[in-house]
């Protein structure tokens, strides 16, 4: 298969490319993103493309004619861009990439990154939604994910190809720039005074494993991807030896300001997670993809606080001869 990875510079995108490079089932890997990947890729071809440059993107796609499209170009607000920029990029990227794929006509399956944020956390929402629960997002990020899903479903219909929508729990891990991870690593962490509701997360390695399985399975529909177990926000803070501080109501506004000054901005969907929790039923992914996460939620949260020291690698001599 010829695999196209949109959002190759994301943590999961880069790791996926590295795994696919070593796979015999994969003929070639091409990817693109607005910024370069942070890791070295041996044979995967990377193109630095502005999401607005539709002509260049179309040229790359027509030349390559991928059979599998993995759309990981979904940007979380305050991860690497502010909320407005991330939302705009998500929607524009989905329309540009997935729309272009319909014109190319070679695609046999789509794999789309989405999130549990699409279910929303209103008072009437299920506490632990499964894939049949209604999509009623209550945050800007959730609404942009729902829009991406809709574009993907339409693209799949036009291309007559199955669309696997993977609704991930928040990604978390050491050295991964996500707002929830940054927030929980602060020395003093404000949590909700009146609700300590559980949430779940996913390790990037498990996320890569799921994408691989989804590429092989060609499932048409949505799947919740979560790690077993759950933690509450105050529990997560205690796992890291940090100090939880209860906060309620209007006090969240100064918390947001202080967190932004401290370098850990608190976007709307993360605040919703801290107040209302975020879990989902992941049993369908186990039956459809035979997927069981290798890391529990507690293990993933603990890994956030157990960063290994960065090691400086010596350059290969032959690269400079």
């Amino acid at each position: 298969m010829r695999v196209l990875i949109s959002g190759m510079a994301t943590e999961v995108g880069t790791r996926l490319a590295m795994q696919l490079e070593a796979s015999d089932a994969v003929e070639s890997v091409v990817g693109f993103d607005a910024v370069p990947p942070r890791r070295y890729l041996r044979s995967a071809e990377f193109h630095r493309v502005d999401p607005h440059d539709r002509r260049r993107l179309l040229r790359i796609l027509r030349d390559y004619e991928p059979t599998v499209v993995v759309h990981l170009g979904v940007y979380e607000p305050e991860a690497s861009a502010d909320t407005a920029t991330a939302i705009a990029r998500n929607e524009h990227s989905a329309v540009t990439v997935l729309g272009a794929m319909c014109e190319v006509g070679s695609v046999e399956r789509f794999i789309i990154r989405s999130g549990l944020e699409v279910y929303g956390r209103s008072r009437s929402a299920p506490a632990r939604p499964d894939e049949d629960a209604p999509v009623r997002p209550t945050t800007a990020f959730g609404r942009s994910l729902a829009a991406v899903e809709k574009v993907a479903v339409d693209a799949g219909r036009v291309a007559d190809a199955p669309v696997s929508i993977l609704r991930f729990a928040p990604w978390m891990g050491p050295h991964i720039p996500v707002p929830l991870g940054r927030y929980l690593r602060m020395p003093v962490v404000p949590v909700d005074a009146f609700g300590d509701l559980p949430f779940t997360v996913v390790d990037p390695e498990d996320a890569v494993s799921v994408v691989n399985r989804a590429m092989a399975a060609g499932f048409d529909g949505a799947l919740n991807i979560v790690s077993p177990g759950a933690v509450t926000p105050s529990q997560a803070v205690r796992l890291g030896g940090r100090i939880p501080v209860p906060v309620a109501g209007p006090a969240w506004r100064p918390v947001e300001i202080a967190a932004r000054i401290a370098g850990s901005p608190l976007p709307e969907h993360v605040r919703e997670l801290l107040i209302r929790g975020r879990v989902a039923d992941g049993s369908r992914s186990a039956s459809v993809l035979d997927f069981v996460a290798a890391h529990t939620t507690i293990e993933v949260v603990r890994s956030l606080y157990e960063w290994e020291e960065l090691a400086w690698a010596q350059p290969l001599e032959e690269a400079f001869t």
Partner: protein
């Protein structure tokens, strides 16, 4: 129950919370306090399956005490948690109720609980004026029960809101119907309600010849 172990787990964050928020340590700590508040006499707990999913249909008058005493009765006698579905999802109250086993939401969450092998409980509608009459049951609760073939156990909690003595009776498991569909759900909901009414009639026999 070792208080020091529980406290150590609280400080380090190494305690278990399930996906709906149930905190085992907290429930263990509250056990002695519930004994101080309520003297619960339980009967028929052997009718609740020792493992696997089950749905308990419970009566209620005001609905403030019945879920707590029924859950405590089941926990003390079988060690299983009773997950009462439909608790209020309000700031503070909702989180506290979830930590002792309550679950907000509706049919989707009930189905999730049953698929996970939990013992879930659904309350009949309130009958504040006539405590010896069983309220109605929304047939939509029966959909996951019929689809998954889960055993249903009628139960009653008999007592007065501010009193200490409560009786909890778990009735016999109702035989699962073979049919599915909206009509089967309505019929099955009515059957479950009648089973709870039979338990209430046994617990509160009529005092007058024509009542």
């Amino acid at each position: 129950m070792n208080i020091l172990d529980i406290a150590a787990r609280r400080l380090t964050g190494l305690f278990e919370v399930d996906e709906w928020g149930l905190d085992d340590d907290l429930v263990d700590m509250l056990g002695p306090l519930t004994s101080l508040r309520w003297a619960i006499a339980a009967r028929g707990e052997e009718n609740v399956p020792a493992e696997g999913p089950a749905l308990v249909i419970l009566n209620r008058r005001f609905g403030l005490t019945e879920p707590f005493v029924a859950a405590e009765a089941l926990r003390r006698t079988t060690g299983r948690h009773l997950r009462v579905v439909g608790v209020p999802d309000l700031p503070g109250v909702g989180s506290a109720l979830r930590s002792v086993g309550g679950v907000p939401g509706g049919v989707v969450d009930l189905e999730g609980l049953l698929r996970s092998g939990e013992v879930a409980a659904v309350l009949l509608d309130r009958r504040m004026r006539h405590s010896t009459f069983a309220g109605t049951l929304d047939p939509s609760w029966m959909r996951p029960v019929l689809e998954l073939g889960v055993p249903v156990v009628p139960a009653i909690a008999a007592g007065y809101e501010f009193a200490r003595r409560w009786r909890v009776v778990f009735g016999r498991v109702l035989p699962s119907p073979s049919r599915k569909g909206p009509l089967a759900e309505v019929e099955w909901a009515d059957r479950c309600r009648r089973a709870v009414q039979e338990l209430l009639d046994e617990a509160f026999p009529p005092r007058w010849p024509f009542s």
